[in-house]
Assembly symmetry: C2
Homo-oligomer: 150 residues x 2
């Protein structure tokens, strides 16, 4: 196996076909990482979730990193890292267009809304469902791939 | 679909059968997340990699978070988060026993060593292969599962 950097085109293709990314945020240098559904569109990753630790932390610290991968085997995989900035798409008039765009893009992927909108029972209490739309403004992408050898 | 917390036993079982986790570390509140192979053993996660950004960052800031998941479908998944502390297992005499333990545990999983030990070509230059063993001292685990309904 040899590990190579991916080309810009390969990175773009992986981001386009990927749906689940692992989103990392941080507070007081404590990182936190969760799987989340994303849709890639040129310079943004769009997503949707409910209020919780990750949203509270990203509202405080906009720096995020999202990891996407396709792992067939230990010696055959792709992984793409996106570094960027959290931007919440609120109900405010200046966000409406982008919020609708996020909704439209996410809606194209089947069942995209389920994890964000379902009944969540934590310690026998239902968690309130406050939908939060956001986008990640991409500042950098890097990708690596492992290629099988003889 | 309803999302529930996982029991301690369910979390332990998932960590035992999981092999790839997404490791998040942070520097100056910039998070960074990469997939890596782990072996769970009671209060530690053992792993192995080569020198690079994640090792440099974790040497500076020991706070880490590792995410494991099993995603069958949008409405059927498990995810476990491990919060802990990076501890490098060097060649120093006081680390030898734990380093051997890490090696032994990782060796049980087929091909575990490949991603860390392969030829890596970055910008047409081979990257030096300096193996780094480490463990994550687990301080907290949480787990959630989505259960299909109706």
């Amino acid at each position: 196996m040899i590990i190579h950097e991916m080309s810009r085109q390969e990175i773009k293709e992986l981001l386009t076909r990927a749906s689940i990314g692992r989103l990392a945020c941080a507070k007081d240098n404590q990182p936190y990482v969760v799987p989340l559904r994303f849709v890639y569109n040129s310079v943004y990753l769009y997503s949707f979730t409910t209020v919780g630790r990750k949203i509270e932390w990203m509202r405080e610290n906009h720096k995020v990193c999202v990891e996407f991968d396709e792992i067939d085997a230990t010696n055959s995989w792709y992984t793409v890292l996106v570094t960027g900035r959290f931007e919440e798409l609120t109900n405010a008039p200046e966000h409406v267009a982008e919020r609708n765009r996020a909704h439209e893009l996410l809606n194209k992927k089947a069942e995209w809304w389920e994890p964000g909108f379902v009944k969540t029972i934590i310690r026998d209490e239902e968690r309130p469902l406050e939908p939060v739309y956001f986008r990640i403004a991409i500042s950098e992408t890097t990708g690596h791939k492992a290629v099988k050898t003889g």
